[in-house]
Amino acid sequence: MALVGPAPWTPLARRGGEAHITVMATRSDTITTKGSKPGVLGRSAATGRYVLAPVATKKATVSDQRIAAAVKSVLAKKK
């Protein structure tokens, strides 16, 4: 059976003892709630850490594309 998403959890006994793991958290910091799993923007070369995308609940006043272009142009001037 092809799974298209996490199967509803049922007790092991009701599944006839079949071990059936559909989703496994591999890091403790991947637990999220209500579909709010943060996206990752990318990795920062300056720190080596991943940078998480902000929550989009309020409309920003400038687009991501414009911000990316502004950042690239300002950093390019310093090279």
Binding site: S28, D29, T30, I31, T32, T33, K34, S36, K37, P38, L41, G42, R43, S44, A45, A46, T47, G48, R49, Y50, V51, L52, A53, P54, V55, T57, K58, K59, A60, T61, V62, D64, R66, I67, A68, A70, V71, K72, S73, V74, L75, K77, K78
Partner: protein
């Protein structure tokens, strides 16, 4: 009812939103993002739908970590009254930690103030909690936030010195970024500011963090 989980990446910032505090607010946002976490603030909320307090309940519920700044426990020049939103939201956060399910009980709290022991004069029930002093200095708040996140999350984070160097480089670029994006550098909206920080961190060269 199932226990409501929290995001272990999310850090609730409970702080003043006035102009004088803005540099410290920005430093906290930067510290959280540079350490690989995600800032959450009442500033991200839009104006429709739920009441503001319901939105704050939801924000607090979702966050494993909370940074609470009590700096504005002072009389305001206009109304001669203190701002009570920060102590209220700190109380909500502590209440969730105390009375919530297993995920809520795992919440961790950093309390900041301008002086370490000032709280004894206005909120003495916090006695025994470790209040961290930043003296109104954004750089100290930045380092306090980084050190606390490293401690409570047990993740390997960039050093406080590196975080501060990267932040100073960002601040040096901020006026140019604001000019290109047609913002007043002192009044960049929260949602735009955190996206500018995020993109800058991705694009900034490795040399920026070097000693």
């Amino acid at each position: 009812m199932p226990a409501v989980q929290t995001s272990t990446d999310d850090v609730f910032i409970n702080c003043p939103f006035d102009d004088a505090f803005a540099p410290t607010f920005r430093a906290l946002i930067f510290a959280i993002l540079v350490c690989g976490f995600r800032p959450r603030s009442a500033r991200e909320l839009d104006d429709g739908g739920q009441t503001r307090i319901d939105k704050i309940f939801a924000l607090i519920e979702q966050c494993r970590y909370g940074i609470h700044d009590l700096s504005r426990t002072e009389l305001d020049a206009v109304n001669n009254l203190p701002r009570f939103n920060m102590p209220l939201e700190l109380g909500l956060f502590l209440g969730a930690k105390r009375y919530g399910g297993k995920h809520q009980k795992a919440k961790r709290v950093l309390i900041l103030d301008v002086e370490q022991f000032r709280y004894q004069r206005f909120i003495s029930d916090l006695a025994g909690m470790d209040i961290h002093e930043h003296g109104g200095d954004p750089a100290r708040a930045l380092r306090e936030a980084r050190d606390w996140l490293a401690n409570v999350s047990r993740r390997e984070l960039p050093s406080a010195d590196r975080v501060q160097r990267v932040y100073e480089a960002f601040l040096a670029d901020l006026p140019d970024l604001a000019a290109v994006l047609e913002f007043d550098p002192d009044r960049i909206p929260y949602v735009d500011f955190e996206r500018i920080v995020g993109r800058w961190l991705i694009e900034a060269p490795a040399a920026i963090g070097a000693a």
